[in-house]
Symmetry: C2
Subunit: 195 residues, 2 copies
């Protein structure tokens, strides 16, 4: 028994992954998501279609892979001096990015080709990380802070639910309302702190 199959992140495999991802991003911009096919991506990336089929199995899984990458936040939430201001700003930006047409498309793609829920879990983890940064800052300032879970339930979940399930519009005021309701629940009435 050898110690482990080993993945081999360096070398050829990594090059293939990078060039395939790049090809997807280019082609989505050029021909659109609907016209995209695996052979097209493979040709652009300079690999054979079977390689793509083997590694990703499906166009949807490939798109999901790329979408998760695009949904990764690029910067830390801004530090505006108070928990409330930080959360407001973060929630507004989060809603803007997620509710925009490309954002909705990425969310759909990420959920779509995701048999075991790994990619979806990754998206949720991104939001949790950003919230944790904001909360850690507030703790350092000595402010009372809600649980991360509470903010996910009260702010992130309603936004994502509306994006996915309801056709209606979403604006910054809604994000601020959710934040207000969430922070007003901290350090006060019973039954708001979960788990």
């Amino acid at each position: 028994m050898s110690p482990k199959p080993m993945v081999r992140p360096g070398g050829r495999s990594a090059r293939v992954q990078k060039s395939v991802h790049a090809a997807v991003r280019e082609l989505v911009g050029e021909v659109g998501r609907d016209a995209l096919t695996v052979p097209m991506v493979a040709t652009r990336a300079g690999v054979t279609p079977s390689t793509v089929y083997r590694r990703w199995g499906d166009l949807q899984e490939l798109l999901s892979d790329v979408a998760v990458e695009r949904l990764r936040p690029e910067t830390e939430p801004a530090d505006l001096g108070s928990l409330r201001a930080d959360l407001d700003a973060w929630a507004e930006q989060f809603l803007d990015e997620m509710a925009s047409p490309p954002g909705r498309a990425y969310i759909r793609d990420a959920l779509l080709g995701d048999p075991d829920g790994t990619h979806a879990g990754q998206c949720s983890a991104y939001a949790a990380e950003q919230i944790d940064i904001v909360l850690a800052r507030a703790v350092r300032r000595g402010e009372p802070v809600p649980e991360t879970e509470l903010l996910i339930d009260r702010v992130v979940a309603p936004i994502m639910y509306r994006i996915l399930f309801r056709p209606g519009r979403l604006d910054a005021a809604y994000a601020r309302e959710l934040v207000t309701n969430a922070v007003s629940a901290v350090g006060g009435e019973p039954g708001t702190g979960r788990r």
Copy 2:
């Protein structure tokens, strides 16, 4: 100008729709969702594949159609004598059905093949209707009631978010917690009533 193009719900079209839906349900049980193909469904339903392609366009859209039908609640929420009891019972049942493996599969399918968000909106409408029934009952009893929107944001959205984005387990206690937090927000502190 004739009044309308008209859909023709009765007659042949309706028969085709019914037999195709039945074929999907049968075959999903027999060969599984992964092995399902449009030609297979068409053969079982006694129609030509092109008919299925024309009406539904895609296997995913067909599965989405069937999934929405399965997600339609069959009974009204139970009347247990109080708002709190009704909401607890409803939320627990909702969570049970939605978080179960078949429930998750139906949700995924419903979202998957849904270009314009119609099916997703239908699912959301189902939940809103059930909640409205419970709230209308409570109003008749003279109880103070929260807004439907608040319950969707505080109860439905967190449950669906966790089902879709988080691998963790969901139990009845979580549903009750969400209901507690939602009803405790009614008729009290500022900033909880939305819009």
